[in-house]
Symmetry: C2
Subunit: 357 residues, 2 copies
């Protein structure tokens, strides 16, 4: 039976990088007889322009029906002053939440070929390979009440709510432990249990889940310390599991340790491993349309899709090898370029990966 892949090119550099990733996906589709059928729709600013909303109802239905989703990136300055519900990010938050994509995997991997790109000393980051598991559909991103009101004294007053239930914590903790089991067998759960009630419950539930994973070494760390330790000695981490807001901050910090955020893919999975796949970087409106953006993060997101949603490990590995191969050839887009390498554009980079595949 055929598998449906819904593609959202998105905003900014999204369409350019997705075009290259789709080329790679189609080659893999033929070569490994994956039976994928691709269709396209819009999310974010592009959806606002087309439908007047960053996630149209019919788009959401198509997304529900799809087996996996590939996304470029959303957002841009032209939509920054829209009302909150109309802004591109709200399309992203809504699709995450409506599809139950609670498990966000964000690897921070240093490619040996790009070791020099990091702002950290080589000995601190050489061989870096961290996986941040971020809870993506709960916490302060979605808690209510959330409001802006005027107090009796005339002052404006705003509030957000950070809620977590046992089951929300349990399912993301399991993802963390499962990932740790497939990797270095070390899980660090990050919270602020010395201050937050939600973090105290988080820590308690993670401890309970740990009983089913005696082979995984569990540690707990406060978020402020984690932000420090990522800078001081990032290689101490294997898998990190944390809540939505802390995961947003720490995964961005961790990705920047590699110096090449243009290389990092991500996956957002539901309970059945249906997922949305997108690069970690944003829509980079400043370089949109110039044909210079790095498509490798999006291409590697395709590899994650094959691995996590379809169990096509051979095809997934082949794409990762092809990416390693083009780096070995010395091909670099501007963001990862260094002296002695050959600077290429978005399309050339995509073509090179296709050729290597």
């Amino acid at each position: 039976m055929s598998k449906q892949i819904l593609v959202f090119p998105g905003d900014g550099i999204g369409p350019e990088i997705v075009a290259e990733a789709v080329k790679v996906l189609e080659v893999a589709n033929d070569k490994y007889a994956l039976g994928f059928e691709l269709s396209y729709d819009e999310l974010g600013g592009a959806a606002y322009e087309k439908y007047g909303t960053p996630l149209a109802d019919e788009t959401l239905e198509r997304a529900r029906a799809a087996d996996a989703i590939l996304l470029g990136a959303v957002g841009g300055p032209q939509w920054d002053n829209l009302d909150r519900p109309l802004r591109p990010e709200m399309g992203l938050l809504k699709i995450r939440s409506q599809l139950g994509l609670f498990g966000n995997l964000r690897p921070a991997l240093l490619y040996p070929q790009l070791a020099g790109a990091s702002s950290l000393k080589p000995e601190i980051v050489a061989g870096l390979d961290i996986l941040i598991v971020r809870e993506l559909t709960g916490g302060i991103y979605f808690g209510s009440p959330r409001e802006l009101r005027t107090l009796e004294n005339g002052e404006r007053y705003a509030l957000d709510t950070l809620p977590y239930s046992e089951s929300e914590i349990r399912r993301i903790a399991k993802v963390g432990f499962d990932m740790a089991r497939l990797r270095g067998k070390k899980l660090c759960s990050v919270d602020k249990a010395n201050v937050l009630e939600s973090s105290r419950l988080w820590r308690a539930v993670v401890e309970e889940v740990a009983k089913d994973y005696p082979d995984v070494e569990l540690s707990h760390m406060y978020v402020d310390n984690a932000a420090m330790q990522l800078v001081r000695a990032p290689k101490q981490f294997d898998v990190v599991v944390t809540d939505n807001m802390f995961g947003d901050i720490l995964s961005d910090e961790a990705s920047m340790l590699t110096g090449s955020i243009g290389m990092l893919p991500s996956a957002s999975l539901d309970a059945n491993n249906k997922g949305m796949y997108e690069p970690c970087h944003g829509s980079a409106p400043d370089i949109a349309g110039k044909g210079i953006a790095n498509p490798l993060a999006t291409i590697l997101s395709v590899s994650m899709m094959l691995r996590y949603s379809f169990g096509q490990l051979e095809a997934a590995d082949a794409i990762e090898r092809a990416v390693g191969n083009v780096l070995d050839q010395g091909l670099r887009t501007g963001d990862i370029w260094s002296e002695g390498c050959q600077k290429v554009g978005t399309r050339e980079m995509g073509d090179a990966v296709v050729a290597a595949l």
Copy 2:
């Protein structure tokens, strides 16, 4: 008229490092005829041992009456399993809130003598001098409701609340702008206005306050991007102003960029510049009592006290120069030691600063 300084040695290495800072304070007191009178009390774990609570009522009254407070550090594993209200951190949070110490200044300064200690490449951090201004008495640290309850389906459920009022934001924004005016005239306000209501109000109020500071260049940054930019290019920042939780995370990240967190002081100020001064680092129970802790962050906290609470700029500068002087002499505690330098203990380091003064 004499000025009252209340000293909390605190827990772990607190008493050792405070002893050295007090020596320096007393020399400055004599030399510059500051008229300081010192008295001592307990906060945190030490207070729990003495009074059965991490902040006794009579201690709080003495703190209210004092003109400034010097604190070592609080916390330790022996108190980690106490009920939340009895834990050392709660003494710290309570004194911050009860004394209205809303303005937390956390400099991240790279000493040229210690440039090699950073995990970042020298060219990325050379000359680094950032000031993080953290809101310290509001937001999710103190919001209510905060609770753990059992839902109808039997699940546990916890929540925290992140509230900010206009006046809370306005007063910390002013501190940010005032500090920027005294330094590089650049202020970056960090929030998550694309997701949080409290951040949208934060951004709006910061914009309003900016009208009174046309000479300061204001920018806004999302917290996830700020966590990245601190790693990528930290020298782009001068003063950063942000909320309690984001400030906790980003100030720890920023301090670690210097590689020598044993050197970094902090100030927590009320509306009248009365303040509590403490090192950025914690109580380091693992090395407590060994006489090897670095007292310089606490000594530099004394310098901040003289500067911010008492306007004694000459004495404050003299202490900073004395610290620079002992570093120039090549004296180093273990945490900042490197090949070719002379390793000294806590007391020798304190004595050297006194001698240099």
